[in-house]
Structure formats: structure tokens, C-alpha cells
Amino acid sequence: MPFQRYLLGLGFLSPALLVLAGLFLMPVALTGIIAFTNMSISTGVSGGAHVITGNLLTGLRDDGVEPAALDRLAETVFEVTPEALARARAAGVDPAFVADIEERLVGRRFTDGRAFERELKGLPHRPRAIRDLKVAADLFGASILNTRFADAAAARQAVVGVLPDAPEATVDRIVAASYTGWQWTTGNFARLLSSPDTLRLIVNTVFYVAATLSFTVFVGLFLAIGTFYLPPATAGVFSVLWLLPRLTPVVLYAVMWKWFTWEGGFVYTAAEALGLPAFNYMKGSVPTAWTIVILVNGFIGASFSMILFSSALKAIPIQQLWASEVDGASRWQQVRYIVLPQLRWPILFVVSYQTLSLLSSYQEIWLTTNGGPGRTTSVWALESFNTALNNYTGDLQYGLGAAMAVMLVVVGVTLSVIYLRLFRFDDLVGRPKIEF
């Protein structure tokens, strides 16, 4: 019975649940999971294989694995097996020659290439050219080096084949180290905790959020109050103008800022004409880069807060203002004692809402300074994105990027929960009145 009651509601909700579960919850979960792996572009996202590479052997040698064993792993072994014979036939080696090999050498094993070639030279139907002989010989050679093994068991079998009397522990180490897929690890978090860059990024992020937020709130307030006192026509011009940054597609907006601040751009040309230092302000120096990052985001934020503050101002009963004028308050006193107190909640709202979106959004920075010059204007979210998905060198580290994103999500969700309390979320939840 209770379930039936929910049927209709769940029906209506199911499209939303489906989309949100697939594209919100799944990504959250995946990000959380990947944060504990070393997944990267080289490990791939699905499972991996086992490959023993030269690099791996060098690494193992440095880690103190017995060098003799490692040398043997690197050796090529020549073995006349039915598979190798088939391989040779398929490769177009003279069938008579292959028949010779089969007849005389089947089952033989050579660890030295020269010895094998010598044997081949002694066969009746050997090829004339020495090159052809070498090609044929190579077809019988096999090395464990650079061979892909689908799973650990196959890799182990191959390693034991080469090193029949190596201790179990050594084999285990080699097999484990040869895995190319991703692995579980807490290394991402350890790395974040120990890296000196982390602190820098945090400082950058805090500075960016605080500065942009202050700009947003103060400019928004100034605009809202300013237009409130101006005649409607003049005020209209400003409010039209200030909504534009929010409406403009982000690429165009970023490009306009580039035009405004780059070499040959507006400010550059103007500065040149006035004999002031002219350079690429967006990328040329740290203070100008920061200024631009804050302005680019601040203008968008200010247009948001201006709308909110303006509508709150319109809700103030005009009689209150008249009364204060009758009481002899100056314009400034009116703003200070009548207007600002009534904007308390909108201001609080803008601060909380913008904190979250500034913390998590990086599009504007990405498209303008992209954290430059160097990484001086990079913030946490941008760095996470760049680490995981947008690296110049192509070395995409999904695991590390996800770990950074997870930390951001934790901060964001914590803040959201606090804000929900603050804005009395409970008042917004009512019970359905139709009970059937």
C-alpha cells in the first residue's frame, strides 16, 4: 500500500531520476572511485595487461632484484615448436627448408641466436642469402620481453618458463610490476598532501574567491543602489549593459577580453598612445593577470548580484524612504540605515551562492589566462581539470585529477549543507494535500 502511494510520484520523477542518476550520481561515484586509482591515459580506463618492458627491468634492477635473473628475462630463446613451424610456413619461408627444420630440429631449444643459425646453415635446403636465413631464424625466436599477457597467470607461466628456479617472491614481484592497467592506490591523496604546489593552489583559490566575491558584492551593491536613485531611462541603460556579460557565450566573452587586453588590443593601444607600459596584460605580468581574472569573473558575478539587489530594493516600501527624507536623512544616511539593512539576506545569498560557483567553475580562467603566467593564476578546479583532461603534454592523470575534484566536492557539499540550514530549507518542504 505505501508503495502504491508513491507510484504516481515516482512515475513523474523517473525521467529526472534517470538522467540525474546517470549523469550526476554516477560521475560522483566514479570520481570518488577513480580518486583511489592511478588511472591515467597510459593505464587506460578499462583493465590492463602484463608486459615486461626494458624500462621495467631497469626499474627492478634498481629495486634490488637479482640482476642475473633479469638478464635472462631479456634474452631471446629459439625453440622449434609446431607453432613456430606454422609461423614460418605462413611467413612464406621455403617449405622444403621448413620441412628440414621440422625433421631435424623439432623440440630443440637454443638460448644463443648464433648457435641456432649455425644449425640452420647445416640444413640441406637452406636459403642462399644469409639475410633470408636470419629472417627465418628470427621466426623461431621468442622473448618474454614486450610480450602482452592477458592476465597474471599467463605472465607468471612465462616468467617461470624462463626462470624455472627463481624464488617465488622474485616471480611475484616481476609479475606484479609488469601490470600495465590501473591499480588501487591512495597515492593521489598522499601526493596532494605532500606537494608544495597544493598550498600554493589553495592560497590562489582562496584569494580568487575572496577577491572576486568582494568585487561581485560591492560593485553589485553600487550598481543596484546607483540605478535605484537614477531616473528610470538612465538606470535602464546601465541594467541592459550589465546583463550582457551574463548573456554572452563564454567563448565570445573571453575573446572580447583578450581583444581588450592583449597586444594590439584596446588598452594596449591606449596605453601606448599615453606613453604607459604596454604589453599583453593578460599574460604578461602576475598582477595584471590576476586583475583580469578577477574582472572577467567579477563582471559576470556583479550582473547577477545587481539583479538580485535591485529586485530587493524595489520591494522596499517607498514610504520608508519618504519618511527618512522627512526626518532629514542625507542620501548616504538613507542608504546606510534604511537600504543596506534590508539587503542583508540578498547579500548573504549572493555570497553563499557565488562562493560555490566560484569554487567550482573555471571556464573563464581556462579561456583567458589559463592559469598563466606560469601557474600563478591557476585555481584548484582548473588544476584538477587540467590534470585530468586538458594537459599540453597529453599525460592525462585521471586519478590525480579525480582526487582533486573529490576534495572540491567535499568542500562544496559541506558548504551547501550549511547554506541549506542558513536559508531554512525546511520551510520549503510541504506535504502533499491530496492523500489519494
Binding site: 494535500k433 491530496i434 492523500e435 489519494f436
Partner: protein, 351 residues
């Protein structure tokens, strides 16, 4: 169709709002559900309508138990306090909506809508939208929409609360006329006693989720079952004096003594009772007399209302045809119609 509410209980979030309520509305009768705000009138109505679930007991239409049927299967017509007309539809479409839901034929719908619109005197408004109607007209549309599919029961939740005084008077008689013409069993929820008394066959008085008394209007006024009912009905309201029975079959309290009505002379002396005195029973005619000082005068046009303070400090209220006899501060000596006094015991029940 006879409507029976049997041991009805309703609980919201573990607070029981209505407990074991019983009520019967006879076929074709119009019953007023009257009570103070928050006593559970709307809750009862919504349970009958099938909007709220019942948490205990049963609701029967005739012999059919509808307690667990959804609204759609009950065939109830409801008129809401704010009319709940569909703003995006014309009056015609509003009234026709229940019929289109039933997929009736176009011609049928047209005929029925016009007939009911005639009955409600809104035949010429069918093309308008609700926002282009006055309050009274919206009320008529809501009524027409509730009636058009001939419901078994008609429920009206404070239908007149949003109208101005003059329209209220007009719609009072209109609703009653239409109800009588259609003969549909109806419940009218109201907290206005005049409405209840003037429009309905019987009144059920509710308080704190329970029915206190069910009776015809005049019976309820003259013989209230409890102190609560007596206090709730009557405007200006009744005055209560707390005291006890004296040896000679009278009543005494704080310096007031009055004879009890003839049929109650036998009460044993010393029993604590309270006396209810309606304002119209204090003044010019009656067997007993009280004297005191006028402390308040409120002229109401045809009548004048007085408060007089008796020697012991008790206040009595009197309403009399207008004249220019007494002023504030005057000492008066007025008659009390002691046969019409109401007597209640310690628990507030009528004796």
C-alpha cells in the same frame, strides 16, 4: 442520498485532529457544519470528498462504503472557499470540465451546461474567463460546475467567506434555492452562525474535532446542549454567571440572586451551576429583576446594546429596541425573563 460518517478518525503526523466522529446527513437535507477556526471542519469535508484518507471509521453514501475510494470514484461536488475555477478556461469550459472528463457527447455537454447555467443565472456569462467575473458570479460558476454532473453529495467549504456583505446575503438565498431545487444532500461548512441558521435544515456544531450537538437552528438556539454551544450561538453573545443553587430553588452568585426556570426548581441546594443569560432576555419583560449601573452603551440602529454592572461586580448584557432611555453611569432596574434562563452543570452540560 443519505450520508453517514461513522467513528471517523483523522490523524496528521501523530496528532489526532478528529476522533470517533459520528454524523448523519439525511437525504436531500442541507446540514451546516459550524465551529470555530481549526476545529476540523475542512478536514471532515475533505475526508468526505476523498481528498484526505480516513485513519479510522467509515464514510457511507447511502449503503455504499466509500472510505477507501479516491475522489474520482465518489461523485461528490465541492465548492471551495476561493472557488478554484480553472483560470485558463472559459466559464463554459469550466462547467463542462467534469463532463468532458467522462467523455460525454458534445451535444449532451452543451445541453447540460446550459441548463445548469440557467439554474445558476449565469447563462449569459459562458464565454468569459473567471478573471472577468465578479465574486458572486465566480461563486455561481463554481456551484454550477459542482452540480453539473449531478453529484450524490454537495460540499460547500465556506462558500460565502470571500464575498462582501450584500452579495453574501444574496448568495445565501441563491445557494439555498438551488440546493432545494436540485434536492442534493449537502454539507455547508461555515463559522458564521447566521449563515448556518438561515441556510440549513440542521446544524452540527463542532469543537476540537468532535460534534457537540446536532439540531435544527431554532432548537439549538433555544436548547443548547452545552455551555459551548450556548456561547457559540447568539449575537451579541450570551453571558454566563457562575454560582450555586439556593434553598428556595433559586440561583445566587456574587450578590446576584435570580429564580431558576420553573422546571428546574427541584435542584438540590448548594449544587454548583452556571447560568446563561441571553441579552434579549434582560430588559423590559420578565419575572425577576436586577439592578445595576450602565457601563457601556452601543447603539446598533434598530436596537441598542447595554452592559450593566451588578452590585457584586458581575456584568450582564441587554439588548433592547432603540430608544433614548439609559446612558452610561445611569442606575437601572431591569426585568429578567427567568423562565428562559439556561442552566449548565459544572462540566458545561445543560441541566
Amino acid at each position: 442520498m443519505r450520508l453517514t460518517i461513522c467513528d471517523f478518525t483523522k490523524t496528521f503526523d501523530r496528532t489526532t485532529v478528529i476522533k470517533d466522529m459520528n454524523l448523519v446527513v439525511e437525504d436531500g437535507e442541507m446540514l451546516a457544519l459550524l465551529g470555530p477556526s481549526g476545529c476540523g471542519k475542512s478536514t471532515t469535508l475533505f475526508a468526505v470528498a476523498g481528498i484526505h484518507r480516513v485513519d479510522g471509521g467509515a464514510i457511507l453514501f447511502g449503503k455504499r462504503d466509500v472510505s477507501h475510494l479516491p475522489s474520482q470514484k465518489r461523485n461528490v461536488g465541492v465548492v471551495f472557499q476561493n472557488y478554484a475555477l480553472y483560470p485558463h478556461m472559459t466559464v463554459f469550459d469550466n462547467i463542462a470540465f467534469p463532463l468532458t472528463i467522462r467523455r460525454e457527447g458534445k451535444a449532451d455537454i452543451d445541453r447540460k451546461v446550459r441548463a445548469i447555467a440557467e439554474l445558476a443565472h449565469i447563462g449569459d456569462l459562458l464565454a468569459r474567463r473567471p478573471s472577468q467575473l465578479s465574486g458572486g458570479q465566480q461563486q455561481r460558476v463554481a456551484l454550477a460546475r459542482a452540480l453539473v454532473r449531478q453529484p450524490d453529495v454537495l460540499l460547500l467549504d465556506e462558500p460565502l467567506a470571500n464575498l462582501d456583505a450584500r452579495l453574501r446575503l444574496e448568495m445565501r438565498s441563491e445557494i439555498r434555492r438551488i440546493q432545494m431545487e436540485t434536492g442534493i444532500t449537502s454539507i455547508l461548512v461555515t463559522h458564521d452562525q447566521v449563515e448556518a441558521m438561515s441556510m440549513c435544515d440542521r446544524i452540527a456544531i463542532m469543537d476540537q474535532g468532535a460534534i457537540r450537538q446536532v439540531a435544527t437552528p431554532s432548537e439549538m438556539y433555544r436548547q443548547p446542549a452545552s455551555r459551548f454551544v450556548a456561547g457559540f450561538l447568539g449575537n451579541p453573545p450570551i453571558v454566563f454567571l457562575d454560582g450555586e443553587v439556593t434553598g428556595d430553588g433559586g440561583f445566587a452568585s456574587r450578590g446576584v440572586s435570580l429564580p431558576l426556570p420553573g422546571r428546574l426548581r427541584h435542584l438540590e441546594a448548594g449544587r454548583p451551576i452556571s447560568l446563561g443569560i441571553r441579552p434579549e432576555h434582560v430588559g423590559t419583560s420578565g419575572g425577576a429583576r436586577v439592578s445595576g449601573q450602565v457601563v457601556f452603551v452601543e447603539p446598533q440602529g434598530r436596537e441598542t446594546l447595554f452592559d450593566i454592572e451588578l452590585e457584586g461586580g458581575a456584568i450582564l448584557r441587554s439588548i433592547q429596541p432603540a430608544g433614548d432611555d439609559a446612558r452610561v453611569g445611569d442606575r437601572v432596574d431591569w426585568a429578567v425573563d427567568s423562565d428562559r434562563l439556561l442552566v449548565f452543570d459544572r462540566h458545561g452540560n445543560a441541566v
